[in-house]
């Protein structure tokens, strides 16, 4: 099963994310975002960050998760490629993410995503596969 599929959007980036369960959906959403931002193939794991977030509902939690990762990426000048959600409820998430500073390898970054948006956000389940479409502002 593919982790995500990029789809057309007039001015920004959009992708359909897939997961066998909700945790995987969250992990694949993060993977999709960074995969669309830059070259994460062969990225090291020297930057390890633990993330803990709360939000009013699952969709808000998903966007908070992605925007938290964006903030970490820009403030640390790093890209992330490994995502492990260790705890997930409707309103709380704990995760560990791994990546590498690209301060000396800035060419790995080719698209600056400003944020993950709430546009048309709805987590759905079809035939035991979880899906969500996310629009990213670039």
């Amino acid at each position: 099963m593919e982790r995500y599929k990029q789809i057309p959007h007039t001015a920004d980036l959009a992708a359909i994310i897939y997961g066998q369960d909700i945790k995987e959906l969250f992990e694949n959403s993060a993977y999709a975002m960074f995969d669309m931002m830059g070259d994460i193939e062969g990225l090291g794991a020297s930057e390890i960050v633990k993330v803990r977030l709360v939000a009013p509902d699952r969709e808000s939690l998903l966007i908070s998760w992605l925007n938290e990762l964006l903030y970490l990426s820009y403030s640390k000048r790093a890209l992330f490629s490994e995502f492990s959600v260790t705890m997930l409820t409707e309103t709380e998430l704990q995760a560990e993410v791994k990546g590498q500073s690209i301060a000396k390898d800035i060419k790995r970054l080719h698209t600056e995503i400003k944020a993950a948006t709430y546009h048309d956000l709805k987590i759905q389940q079809t035939n035991k596969i979880y899906m969500v479409t996310i629009v990213f502002d670039v």
């Binding site: 969709e59 808000s60 925007n67 800035i106 080719h110 698209t111 400003k114 709430y118 670039v138």
Partner: protein, 485 residues
């Protein structure tokens, strides 16, 4: 995701189309799209009119949910959206009505140079500008500021730069809000905003941001053009950029806070990206304070880039910026929310005007435009794509209809991925050079994503706003050199 709009669009006249209020039960006002029949065929394709209808649900909205002809689908408000809410009547403010790139905007700089002075050496000039002005994703600026100075930038805006020698007082007089909107409150800006924006002062960014060297190809109203310091054959510079990571993080922070506050204020909206709070609430005032910080950061950014440009021209043409006549014509924001007074139902009301991918266009005599432009009206700068042209317009009295708002640019037609696919195998740089346009860029896909055919023709957009009477053409500029991120 890109299903065409299938709702009813009623023709009002050749340039105005109405989405009736009864289209959706929660609409408080109708939607009005400024377009002609030809452009409307493209507008409905990406469902942007649905976003016009969604915005009509915002509490306190007055008159109509409007969209300019460069409309395209965004998130929340469409790009090209204009929405006004009545502050005293519980009207709301929405970060989704401003955009992530707060005060993405554009400035036009004039010179005394003629095309003949520059064209023979345009490649070297563009190379020099490319070396001087930081561009591209992840780029950092040449001006290093600490945390305390960043807070000052957020309140002083372009004035911070001028005080430190990166410009002159005349620059501030010829900038919207004199280069800094009052009421910025850095205490409403999170630490992570400072961390994310670190090092980005004086940078162009990427995507559709650019610095162009242009020649004025046509002048439509000589007296007003002359009043703005513009004449045919003259070299101008246009700078398009915004608030970089500062704006993005502020919008992200507050969009999340407002989503979390929707139940508190019992607000129902069809799209979470339109999350909003009453302007007069603590949350609304906090967002306004923070948004203004980002807006001022952007004005400072454009001022610093102007200074870098002047330095390049001074060295290149061996003269002072003053002797070369390198002066700011005007600088406009096209992603911002402003508090402005208008007459609504016979009463002067304070409105929160959201302009998202739309530009303020004040008429002659209106307070808030430079004194030397008072008799002409406010200059409106409309950048086109890198292969065609840009325009200088002026605000009109008739634009009161749109709360003195007009278009902001060309508006995208094609997604980035579609543009890359359509231009595979083509050398866009060579195609531009064949048209007499030298380009330097950083991102490997930038030129493909930003190719002309990915955008509406800005001439069509400008002709519609002129036809509708909400702004008026003054000059057309053609690019001869471009730098992009």
């Amino acid at each position: 995701m890109t299903q065409p709009f299938t709702g009813n669009l009623e023709k009002i006249d050749d340039y105005r189309w109405r989405i009736p209020q009864k289209y959706m039960p929660g609409m408080k006002v109708p939607g009005i799209i400024f377009s002609d029949e030809k452009m409307l065929k493209d507008i409905v394709k990406d469902n942007a009119p649905q976003q016009v209808a969604n915005a009509a649900h915002l509490p306190g909205i007055v008159r109509a949910s409007m969209a300019m002809p460069d409309i395209h689908w965004g998130y929340g408000l469409p790009i090209g959206g204009v929405v006004a809410t009545d502050v005293e009547a519980g009207g709301v403010i929405s970060p989704g009505g401003v955009g992530y790139d707060i005060n993405c905007g554009v400035r036009l700089v004039r010179t005394n140079l003629e095309v003949g002075d520059v064209k023979p050496r345009i490649k070297e000039l563009i190379d020099s500008l490319y070396r001087k002005v930081p561009t591209g994703v992840g780029s950092t600026g040449k001006i290093k500021v600490n945390f305390q100075e960043e807070k000052k930038i957020m309140t002083e805006g372009a004035g911070w730069a001028v005080k430190r020698g990166y410009g002159c007082p005349g620059d501030l007089e010829h900038c919207e809000e004199n280069g800094a909107i009052k009421g910025a409150d850095p205490s409403k800006v999170s630490d992570r905003v400072f961390q994310r924006g670190r090092g980005q002062s004086g940078t162009l960014g990427s995507g559709n941001h650019f610095l162009e060297v242009q020649v004025v190809d046509e002048v439509y109203q000589e007296d007003i053009a002359s009043g703005f310091g513009i004449r045919k054959g003259q070299i101008t510079v246009m700078i398009h950029t915004g608030s970089r990571g500062v704006g993005h993080q502020i919008c992200s922070d507050y969009a999340q806070k407002m989503v979390n506050s929707l139940s508190k204020f019992k607000i129902n909206i069809p799209d979470r990206q339109l999350a909003c709070v009453p302007v007069k609430s603590d949350e609304g005032q906090a967002y306004l304070g923070a948004m203004r910080c980002a807006a001022n950061y952007a004005w400072c950014n454009r001022q610093v880039i102007t200074h870098l440009t002047r330095e390049v021209f001074e060295e290149f043409f061996r003269g002072s910026a003053e002797s070369l006549g390198i002066n700011l014509v005007y600088d406009v924001a096209h992603n911002i929310a402003k508090l402005e007074k208008y007459e609504i139902n016979g009463k002067m009301s304070l409105l929160c005007i959201h302009r998202k991918g739309a530009t303020r266009a004040f008429p002659p005599g209106r307070e808030g435009i430079p004194k030397d432009y008072g008799q002409f009206g406010q200059p409106v700068i409309i950048p086109g794509d890198m292969g065609r042209c840009s325009y200088l317009l002026v605000g009109t009295d008739a634009a009161e209809e749109t709360f003195y708002s007009t278009c902001h640019g060309a508006g995208r037609l094609m997604s980035r991925t579609a543009a890359i696919k359509a231009t595979q195998g083509r050398s866009i740089a060579r195609e531009l050079a064949d048209k007499g346009i030298i380009v330097r860029y950083t991102g490997r896909q930038t030129l493909h994503e930003e190719v002309s055919e990915a955008y509406k023709d800005v001439t069509d957009v400008v002709d519609i706003v002129q036809g509708a009477g909400i702004s008026s053409k003054i000059a057309k500029m053609r690019p001869i050199g471009v730098i992009k991120g």
